[in-house]
Every structure is written in C-alpha cells, then in structure tokens.
C-alpha cells in the first residue's frame, strides 16, 4: 500500500499523473490530506512509465478540480479511481459519489456568493473596511475569493473563515490563516435597516418554512443578520395575517343582487353593511329617475335632508342643482340622479348633523351599487358632481377645476363629464356666487 499526501489539486494532479503512468492500481494507493507524506514518506513515486502523454476529457478535469475542494478526505482516492478507469478502460461515466461531491461543492460555492455578509468598520485612517466571517462547508475560499474581488473591487474587504481567510485591498488578493468568529466585527448599525427590510418584504399569509430552509439551511443562519428574525416572523405570521384580513377593505359587493332591476336594487340597498356608514345613517338613499336615461348625474353622498327623506338631491344643494339644470335646458325628470356613496356620513355637533366627506375606503366599498345603477340605466353620459363622484367613476384623483367641462371616455363607450358639486356653490363667497353658478350652468349645458 502506497500512502500519498496531497495538499491541493495541482499536487494531486501531478502525483496522480505519475501513478497512472506507472500503472499503479487504485487499490494500491491511499491519498491523504496533508503537507507531507507521513508514514510511508519514503516510498518513491513510480518513474514515468512508457505511456507518454496522458489525456482525459476536459470535463473530467474541470469536475475533478471542483471535487478536490470537498472536505471529505476520500475525494482524492475517488478521483484517482475515476482517472484510472478513464485512462485504462476508456470509461467516461464517473461514479455517482463523485457527482454528488461535485454538486455539494457547487452548491457550497453558490451559497457562499449569496450568504457572506460584510460588516463595515472604519479604521483610524478613515478607510472603511468590510469584514465578513463565514463558515463554508468545503475548502472553497480560494476558489470563491476572486468573485468577491471582481464584484467589490473598489472596497477593502476581508472574508474570514475557520480554515483560511481572504483579504482584498483593491489591488491584490491575499490569503491568511483561519480565525475564530470572535476575531471578526460583531455588529454593523446598518443591519437594523436590513432586518427591517427583511421583515417588511415577507408576506405572512404565505408562510412556507420548508421552502425557506431548503434553500437557506439553518447552519448558515448564525452569520446572517436577518436570520435572527425568523422565529418571531414565523410565530407572529398568524396574527399578522389576521390583521391583514381585518384591514381588508369592506365592500357592498355581497349585498348587490346581480343583474337586478332598479326597484330590486333599491330594496336591497337597505340591507347593505358594506362599510360602517349604515350604522349611523337614518336610511340609505338610492338613485332616482327613469329606468333608461341618456344622462346620469352622480353626487357625493346624501345630506341631512336626503337622509331623512330617503331621496337624492332634495336639500339646499339639490334645489340649486334643479335651478342650474333648468337654466342649462336639461329636463330633470329625464335624468337619473344618484350619489357615489349611499349613506349619509356626518358628525354630530349639538343638535346639528354636520356633513363629513366620505373617505376613499367608503367610496370604494359603495362603488358596486353605482356600477349596478350604471349597468341598469345604461346612460350615454355621466356627470360627476365633485371630486368624490369623479374618483368613484374615473378611478383616479381629479383636479376638478383643471379638468372640469370636458368630455372623457369611460368604459363601455360612455362619456364622463366632470364639474363641481352644487354644495360648492353654496360655500363660495357671496361676491363670486353668480360667476361660479354661471360656470356650473355652462358645464351642464354640455350635457344637454
């Protein structure tokens, strides 16, 4: 039995070449990891035999070089056995064990590219240094270091591992002894931000711990700052999912009978609990007008009067609207009139109920009613009175004063016209009232 110690791939290659040339069968030789031949150090290598050049497939060499980085001392023997078979029997399919080793090392290299985490420290000379401590499974530091040198070429960095450490000073790569973890920096204040990011990007409704640990084995967690969060994230996922569910927006959708006639819709809206507004309002206020109307007017929400009477646009703003329509030459009885939100939202001040603007969530929750009305009435033109109606109909925020008074296309070949809400005319200063009313009438004329 011949014992041969090798330290790296080059050395194995040279010694294996001599052994193969001397036709030494794999069973007669034992490779070991080490600097020098130990017990059998005096056993001479065979002289080069009569073989001349030994050639092997390039793919084998590349594979062998990767396998040589594996931590298992058996790798050299396995490689020699494969080499011997190739040279003597012309067999090119290598044993599964070798392929598995190649895969393990390949994976280790890939994971090191991914999981090394630098910590920034600033030396006395003001030069920032980026230092990582990492524990690879195999002897891959020398193999991997050039990749880091290329990517982080302008940085001073060090990757410390238990076996070997790599150092880069923007010009040359150096290697030194392995160091214990305690020799590396223990923190970096940026890690707090990184952890915040990691926690935020995670979707608690899709927990899949197995998929995570398959790709990010637990043994690497100790050097990854974000991994300290994992137990908490997982155990809180249920609660966070519940929160997401509670925060999910309300909608009238379940209360809207599909394809129903207007009277059926008007009856169904009385049972709507799509948002919280139903709780305080007297009653919902549904739209009014002909079953088929060319023109539909959409306001914001019922006011105090409308809430009590259960009909749209019957209060002061409604009366103003009637006057404006008349002046614009629009017959109100031919128009379908409704609101973006069907319940009155208000704040109680003493005995008075003060109008409060519905928020976007309430507008969105109520939209299915408006959609159902539009489908039924099938108007050619819809006039949005004010920002809330415009948002509900147009699906985005509008600058009313800038975008009023022009036709915009809506789905289904309909047109949208935007103007102010009549209650705006009640609020403007006395001096401006006449002019604003005239502008409002001018907008409505486009609809006539």
């Amino acid at each position: 039995m011949r014992q041969v110690a090798v330290e790296n791939f080059q050395e194995w290659r040279e010694k294996a070449r001599a052994l193969v040339a001397g036709s030494v069968p794999p069973d007669d030789v034992r490779f070991t990891d080490g600097l020098q031949d130990s017990l059998f150090a005096d056993v001479p290598m065979p002289a080069a035999g009569s073989r001349g050049r030994i050639s092997v497939p390039r793919a084998f060499l590349a594979r062998a070089e990767i396998v040589s980085l594996h931590r298992d001392p058996k790798r050299w023997d396995l490689l020699y056995r494969a080499l011997f078979r190739i040279v003597n029997d012309g067999l090119s399919n290598e044993p599964d064990e070798l392929l598995a080793m190649e895969q393990a090392v390949g994976r280790d290299i890939h994971k090191m590219h991914a999981f090394v985490r630098f910590r920034k420290i600033v030396e006395d000379d003001g030069q920032p240094q980026y230092v990582a401590w990492y524990r690879p499974d195999h002897h891959i530091v020398k193999h991997v270091a050039p990749w880091f040198a290329e990517r982080f070429g302008a940085m001073h960095w060090a990757i410390l591992t238990p076996d070997l450490s790599a150092y880069w000073d923007t010009k040359t790569l150096r290697f030194g002894d392995g160091v214990p973890r305690s020799a590396a920096p223990q923190e970096d204040e940026l890690e707090e931000l990184w952890r915040s990011y990691y926690a935020s990007i995670f979707n608690p409704a899709r927990v899949n711990v197995r998929a995570m640990t398959r790709e990010m084995p637990v043994r690497h967690w100790s050097t990854m700052p974000e991994a300290t969060l994992i137990p908490t994230l997982v155990s809180n996922a249920r609660a966070r999912e519940q929160q997401m569910r509670e925060r999910a927006p309300g909608s009238a959708e379940p209360f809207v009978p599909v394809g129903a006639e207007l009277p059926v819709l008007a009856a169904a809206v009385r049972a709507c609990k799509g948002c919280e507004l139903y709780a305080c309002a007297t009653q919902p206020v549904f739209g009014e007008g002909p079953e088929r109307a060319r023109l539909m007017l959409v306001g914001e929400q019922p006011g105090d009067q409308e809430d009590l009477q259960g009909r749209p646009f019957v209060g002061p703003a409604g009366q103003l609207l009637d006057r404006a329509l008349q002046e614009a030459g629009v017959d109100r009885s031919s128009v379908y009139v409704t609101n973006a939100v069907k319940h009155f939202k208000f704040e109680e001040r003493g005995k008075r109920r003060i109008h409060k603007k519905p928020d976007g969530g309430e507008v969105a929750a109520c939209r299915p009613w408006l959609t159902a009305e539009i489908e039924r009435v099938d108007p050619q033109l819809i006039v949005a009175l004010g920002a809330t109606a415009a948002l509900s109909l147009g699906g985005r925020e509008f600058a009313i004063q800038k975008e009023r008074g022009r036709m915009m296309p809506l789905p289904g070949g309909r047109q949208l016209l935007i103007t102010v809400h009549p209650s705006f005319l009640l609020r403007v200063p006395e001096a401006a009232k006449a002019a604003e009313f005239a502008r409002f009438v001018q907008d409505l004329r486009l609809a006539s």
Binding site: E150, S200, V363
Partner: protein
C-alpha cells in the same frame, strides 16, 4: 419620518410585485465602482414565505392618484404613506449592496402628479447609481403606463430590466377594478419598450439587457385560466416578454370547497406558472391546456399530466424513436432530460433502467413510455390506480431562478 420607518412602509408596499429575478444581464464592473452583473442572479436570502430575496424591492412612494381596487396603494386605502427622496434610495441600495445583501434594486412607485413626473424621479435614482456611483449591480425599473417615449428611452439606458404591469387579463376586468387604466395604453408602453430593445440590438447599444417583464393579478375577477394564458401568450409574442408573473390576488384564505382554504389561490398561481412554462419551452398551445368545458387548469394535477390524460391516444411514446417534440409531452420528463435522451440514444438504446436514472418522476412517467425492454405498464394507462403526483412544493417553480 426616519429612513427605517419609510423603508418599512415602502418595502411592505412593494412586496406584492412577484418578480425578484436578477438574471439575464451581464455588466462588467466599472473601474473604481462597485458591483457587476454576471448573468445568473443570486438569491441572497429567503424569507419565511420561501421567497428569494435578490433585489432591494422598493416603492419610491406609495402615494398614488389611482384607485385600482386590487392594489394596496390605491388612493382609497388607509395604508400609511411615505415617500423616499431619490438620494435615500441610492444610499440604501449602495450600502446594502456593499454588504452583499442584494444583487441590486427593483424600483417601482405609486403614480404621483403624472406618470411622467413619477418616471423622472425613478430614473433619477437609476441614473445617479450608474453615473455618480459607478454602480454595476442589477437595476429593474417599473414603468407607469403612459410615460412618455423620451423617458422610456432614458430608463432603459440605466436599467437592466423594465416592466409595465398588464394588471388584469381582460379589459373588462380593468374597467371594473381600475377604470383609469386601459390595455391599449399599457400595451403602447410595452410596445415602446420592445421597439427600443430591438433597435438597441441592431445598433449594438445597451438598452435593458435583461428585457422586459410584466405582472398579472390572478383571481380578482372571474377571468378564467384560458383568458389569462391567452393574454400571456399574446404578450410573449407581441412584445418579446421575458416573463409574465402571476400574483394571486387575495393573500387571505378563500373558501373553496375543492381545497384546504389557504391553498386555493396559491395553487392556482402555481398551476399558471407551470402552464406558462409549457407554452414557452414545451411547444404547447393555449388551446391544448384548457378545454371549452373546463376553462380553468385543474388544481389537483399539473397541466402537462392533465393534457396527457385527455390525450391518451398519444401514448405510449417510444423514447428511442420519438422526436423531441413528442418526448417533451411525456409527463415527468423535463427539457433537460429530453435533451439528454436525444443526445444519448444515438449511442445506445434506452432501457427502463436508463430512464429511472434520468428523472425522479419515473413512477409517473412509466405509464406513458415504451423503451427497448418493453413496458407493460403502458397497457394500464386506463387503470384507476394511475398515481396522481403530489403537489410539488408551491414555490419551487415560482420563486427560483431558472
């Protein structure tokens, strides 16, 4: 508001974008700079949902003028709002990159003021990274539909990948959930990007080297899988899309009697990814994957097995004589295995034993093949005990880099 709070809000808002890919682009490091792009993306971490963290995925702001029902950042949502300055995003990207946390940046934004105003802010980040900081890492920019051609032209100069989201499979779905958006406008933006990419190739200049992708929300409307796959197929053809991402609408459990409640939307998403793969790499046509009676992909088996069971006359396939297209139809055989069969069978005839070494899905496959040593199992194709494979891990096909 401090950076950490902003980061929490704007990363949380960005997590519904499914893409985290950082592959397909090569960029050498500029001397004195930091970062390169090697063509193969790296997953630097994984979150407990099994998803890969490759890019710093952020919104510049989650303020938005739109009210798209399916989107967490819609104007009517009560979600907390924040806005980064371009400098803050530049700094976060560089600092994270230098610590080897990420491959680069995926920057999107709510639309503020106008698509062009928003786009200018997003471009400012990418440009500063490339020119002020010689950043060589990966950059993916989201383009709001309707951004001007000039800005689209500039974005691709700095970015590796661009994407405009199609959002929903049918215009009717948009009409209902995002009335301010149209497929026409979104596809104009996609067309603009794809023309720039083609032109850059001809002129041998660099423009969005990793191409363009898009995302579709699944399960928010009644649109069937057929609708969805037809749309994807058209997008691949018309705009040279690298990827269409599918995002299950509701992260919240659905009540669907066919499945455990939590799984339904996620399994559907997974099936769509599998079908998408069949369209692009296996020579399948949308019309083959679903039927008029069943416009949705079956949830209990993968779409390739489902096709095979509907087309039993096609099997068994002789692995020693069938052409590549036919081999690709065999359940359990992937593109790589097929190519190895084609390469190896010229040297020796394939036996069952050779196949078992080639694929782990041998049990499923053996019902569908003939080898040189005869396959009695093929006769049992109609047997009720034909094993239906277990659901693969949900995200193995979804989040990994291929």
């Amino acid at each position: 508001m401090d950076t950490r709070t902003k980061l929490t809000i704007l990363a949380d808002a960005a997590k519904y974008d499914a893409s985290c890919a950082s592959s397909g682009s090569r960029r050498e490091r500029v001397s004195g700079g930091v970062g390169n792009t090697t063509g193969v993306g790296i997953c630097h971490s994984y979150t407990p949902d099994g998803r890969c963290v490759s890019l710093l995925k952020l919104l510049l702001t989650n303020y938005c003028i739109y009210d798209c029902t399916y989107c967490i950042n819609r104007i009517s949502s009560d979600t907390p709002r924040a806005r980064f300055t371009p400098e803050e995003v530049v700094s976060l990207t560089l600092e994270f990159y230098k610590r080897n946390y990420i491959e680069g940046l995926f920057l999107s934004s709510g639309v503020i003021q106008s698509p062009d105003y928003t786009m200018e802010q997003v471009i400012a980040v990418a440009k500063s990274l490339r020119t002020d900081h010689l950043f060589g890492g990966y950059i993916h920019l989201k383009i709001p539909p309707g951004a001007s051609a000039l800005l689209i032209a500039e974005a691709g100069k700095w970015a590796d990948r661009l994407s405009a989201n199609i959002e929903m499979p049918r215009q009717a779905d948009l009409d209902r959930f995002a009335p301010a958006k149209t497929h026409i406008e979104i596809q104009q933006t996609m067309g603009e990007i794809s023309q720039r990419i083609i032109a850059a190739k001809e002129e041998k200049t660099v423009y969005a080297a990793a191409g363009q992708s898009t995302q579709m929300i699944v399960g928010a409307t009644e649109a069937s899988d057929t609708d969805i796959l037809q749309k994807s197929s058209a997008l691949y053809q018309d705009f040279g899309m690298r990827r269409v991402y599918y995002s299950a609408f509701s992260p919240i459990p659905h009540s669907d009697s066919r499945l455990p409640p939590q799984a339904a939307p996620l399994v559907r998403e997974h099936r769509l990814y599998q079908a998408d793969w069949l369209l692009r790499y296996y020579g399948f046509d949308v019309a083959e994957l679903t039927t008029a009676e069943q416009p949705d992909l079956p949830l209990d088996k993968d779409p390739k097995l489902a096709w095979a069971l509907r087309n039993r006359h096609f099997f068994p396939v002789d692995v020693n004589t069938a052409d590549r297209e036919a081999l690709l139809r065999i359940p359990g055989l992937g593109v790589r295995s097929v190519d190895r069969i084609v390469a190896m069978r010229s040297q020796h005839r394939f036996r069952m034993e050779d196949l078992t070494r080639l694929t782990r899905a041998f049990k499923r496959m053996r019902y569908f093949v003939i080898t040189s040593d005869f396959n009695p199992d093929s006769l049992k194709l109609d047997a009720p005990r034909l094993p239906v494979p277990q659901q693969l891990s949900l995200f193995s096909a979804v989040t990994g880099e291929f």
